[in-house]
């Protein structure tokens, strides 16, 4: 079957989609967007997290056909659009992960970036207080990292929240 939806601001169409296929498979194998990672395929690890109509979800648990007409934002959509001839600029959350050393093997990173982006936008981005450690741990409870022990990741979220707050509320 054919499935058409919007990814990172662009209208896309995938053909020959098997009706039992996941959105994750369509993104990675049919649309050339391998940023969302495929690990557990059962919602346990969070490495395939995307925004789906504005809320975060595991794309391995969304049937491709359910995406018809919907808006999807993947980790590839977090970075700012490039200026004339320039490279894409990393988002505040991405910069914070790099600076805090929150990345080791990197496999869980795309999911953590999307889920952290959502936490930051729902808190400091919406004019609320920066999340404390327990809020961060709760928000990231569905994203497994087997390398870092999470401490650097939590440092990165605090750093991103600080910078996002300094940049001001947009919503």
């Amino acid at each position: 079957m054919r499935v058409s939806f919007n990814v990172n601001g662009e209208d896309v169409t995938a053909d020959n989609v098997w009706p039992g296929e996941s959105l994750l498979y369509v993104l990675r194998e049919r649309l050339g967007l391998p940023g969302s990672k495929n690990a557990c395929e059962q919602g346990e690890c969070g490495s395939c997290t995307v925004y789906f109509d504005g809320v975060t979800a595991c794309s391995c648990m969304i049937a491709a056909g359910q995406a018809e007409g919907r808006e999807v934002r993947t980790v590839e959509g977090l970075a700012e659009e490039p200026g004339k001839g320039g490279d894409r600029t990393l988002s505040t959350v991405q910069e914070a992960f790099v600076e805090a050393g929150a990345v080791q093997c990197g496999f869980c990173t795309p999911g953590l970036l999307v889920q952290t982006d959502d936490l930051i936008e729902r808190t400091v981005g919406a004019g609320r207080a920066a999340p404390d450690d327990s809020e961060i741990r709760e928000a990231l409870a569905g994203n497994l990292c087997r390398c870092t022990g999470y401490e650097k990741i939590i440092d990165a979220v605090h750093l991103a929240a600080e910078r996002r707050a300094a940049a001001g509320s947009t919503s």
Binding site: P19, E41, Q42, T56, C58
Partner: protein, 289 residues
């Protein structure tokens, strides 16, 4: 495999009727796992996420009508006052990503004995609305679970809504697992005190082939509870309540815990839920909840 996208309830019921072997899908948190792992190859997927009636909640007389497709995140945001036990249970489900997608309808349709929704629906005497092209009927939660993963839902029916009575007293939910998030319950428990009718409701999950009520424990507490003033219960009464809840269980040994441990956790959770409820009752906070 066909992929069906009904956009109204009538279309959805017609699709269900035409495809009794098809599988309805909402949040996909159970169905997609079965597809991804090649455990299920239904003739059709019936996507219910475009049916507006299923995604709404509202007031129905003195009850709350919760559409079967409202995700846990919205239950937590909006129904903590109208359905405290269900909202508490919803908070304990998996992770934010899963709570953004998973629904009570899906929990009921899958009917895992460990599902978080079942104990609150049993304890609060909720009703489940089932619809088909033949009509609509309502089944009390206590009559819904028939045997392991078998429910009163018929092959041509869809779960359309849950009717939640207005709370008239404290409602609690407790769950035991190896961590707070991403856990299938070793056992879970819900307690609801109906102060108007002086009734006690319980619901127990992951401790038998179906979720169930601990009826002897309910009757015991109805007789022992101080409905006038909510005076603290004696330790003997609290202990006995826990024992009666544990005794109602028919647990098995599995990878999540032994039968003996499950009984133990139920006695502990029942005592805790009762203590919290007595505290709530004395505060009177639940009257305005």
């Amino acid at each position: 495999m066909e992929f069906l996208r009904p956009s109204t309830l009538v279309e959805a019921l017609e699709a269900r009727s035409a495809h009794p072997d098809g599988v309805p899908i909402m949040g996909g948190t159970d169905v997609m796992v079965e597809l991804n792992f090649d455990k299920r190859r239904p003739s059709a997927l019936i996507d219910l996420t475009r049916v507006p009636e299923l995604a709404e909640w509202g007031v129905d007389g003195d009850r709350t009508r919760l559409g079967a497709g409202v995700p846990y995140t919205r239950i937590i945001e909006h129904l903590s006052g109208r359905a405290p036990a269900l909202a508490k249970a919803s908070r304990s489900v998996a992770s934010p990503q899963i709570r953004n997608r998973g629904t009570v309808g899906g929990n009921l349709g899958g009917a895992s004995p460990a599902g978080e929704c079942h104990p609150p629906l049993l304890a609060t005497d909720a009703e489940i609305e089932l619809a088909s092209v033949r009509g609509t009927r309502r089944v009390r939660a206590r009559d819904f679970y028939l045997s392991f993963r078998e429910t009163a839902l018929r092959a041509d029916e869809l779960i359309t809504a849950i009717l939640l009575p207005a709370p008239t007293g404290p409602q609690q939910f407790a769950k035991i697992g190896t961590r707070n998030a991403m856990v299938i319950a070793v056992a879970n428990f819900s307690l609801a005190l109906d102060t108007e009718n002086r009734r006690v409701g319980t619901g127990v999950g992951s401790a038998g082939p179906t979720p169930f009520r601990a009826e002897a424990a309910e009757e015991f507490l109805e007789a022992e509870f101080d409905w006038e003033d909510g005076r603290p219960l004696s330790e003997a009464v609290v202990t006995r309540f826990g024992e009666l809840v544990a005794a109602a269980a028919r647990p098995i040994d599995d990878q999540r815990g032994s039968a003996a441990y499950r009984r133990h956790t139920l006695a502990v959770m029942a005592r805790r839920a009762l203590s919290w409820s007595v505290t709530d009752y004395r505060k009177g906070s639940t009257r305005c909840a």
